[in-house]
């Protein structure tokens, strides 16, 4: 239970769930949810390395805090973009948002 590889495996499986969601879901909100899962697996990795490997154990926690800040900013921007897109298309399905397609 208390080893580095265990936490890394948990984070890798979480990342794969998030990747599957990003690749297969069509609703933009579901894609945002999957991206949050992937960000969480990255910060879980930071915390695990912080506990078992890193020379200075406060730094991983600080990076996790930064990831949380970036994720909050990203969620706010993404949700407002969804709102703007919904006004244009009356839908937030990815496959309808193809106006910029070449």
């Amino acid at each position: 239970m208390n080893s580095l590889t265990f936490y890394l495996v948990i984070a890798a499986i979480l990342f794969s769930f998030g990747l599957f969601g990003v690749l297969t879901r069509r609703s933009l909100i579901a894609v945002l949810i999957s991206i949050e899962l992937m960000l969480n697996s990255a910060s879980l990795n930071f915390m695990a390395f912080n506990k078992f490997v890193a020379p200075d154990t406060a730094i991983g926690q600080i990076y996790t805090l930064f990831i949380m800040g970036i994720a909050a900013a990203e969620a706010a921007i993404a949700l407002s973009i969804f709102l703007a897109l919904f006004r244009q298309l009356r839908s937030i399905n990815i496959e309808r948002a193809r106006e910029l397609r070449g």
Binding site: M1, N2, T5, Y7, L8, V9, A12, L14, F15, S16, F17, L19, F20, G21, L23, T24, S27, I29, A30, I33, S34, E36, L37, N40, S43, L44, M47, A48, N50, K51, F52, V53, A54, P55, D56, T57, A58, Q61, I62, T64, L65, F66, M68, G69, A71, A72, A73, E74, A75, I77, L79, S80, I81, F82, L83, A84, R87, Q88, I92, N93
Partner: protein
């Protein structure tokens, strides 16, 4: 935190909670279930942070992710398709491709994890206190700290402007 049966059971319970939350967040087609599953998974990860020795980060995770981001996503649910309208069927090819790609990435990751010999650093400062985090945030990482606050401000303004004026610009 690592000895005894009860903490160990709690740890595996948290892992199961995290994975079931992640599954609920990804697989069902109803977006409300997805958000609730995301909240479950994030709470599980917060518990794992506590097991990793940082109560502070675990509480911040609960506060920011579960308390703020999930609630913000719930607001956007009104934009999604009403549940009584028939859902188009999932394409099998896309499903197989998604599963294949994520399993491939998972295998690569697991290979890297198990092939590498992780050695702890020779000299380690095992200071986990909140005071140390605060010291670092205001001395060594003060620039990043300030830039993060600027990013949050710009994101807030940008979100307001995009959602308020998007109809008029176009």
């Amino acid at each position: 935190m690592s000895h005894g049966v009860l903490p160990q059971l709690g740890f595996y319970g948290l892992v199961i909670l995290t994975f079931s939350g992640a599954m609920i967040a990804v697989f069902p087609r109803n977006i409300l279930y997805n958000v609730l599953g995301l909240a479950l998974a994030l709470s599980g990860v917060a518990g794992l942070y506590v097991y990793l020795g940082s109560l502070f980060i675990g509480l911040m995770q609960l506060l920011i992710y579960v308390g703020a981001i999930c609630i913000a996503i719930v607001f956007a649910i009104m934009l999604s398709r009403p549940p009584h309208i028939a859902k188009p069927k999932r394409k099998t090819s896309k499903l197989v491709g998604g599963i294949g790609a994520s399993v491939l990435i998972l295998c690569v990751n697991l290979g890297i994890i198990y092939k590498t010999a992780w050695k702890p650093a020779a000299e380690r400062h095992l200071d986990w206190s909140v005071k140390t985090i605060g010291d670092f945030l205001l001395t060594k990482y003060v620039l990043v700290f300030e830039v993060i606050s600027l990013v949050l401000l710009v994101a807030m303004l940008g979100a307001i402007i995009i959602s308020r004026y998007s109809g008029r610009v176009s």
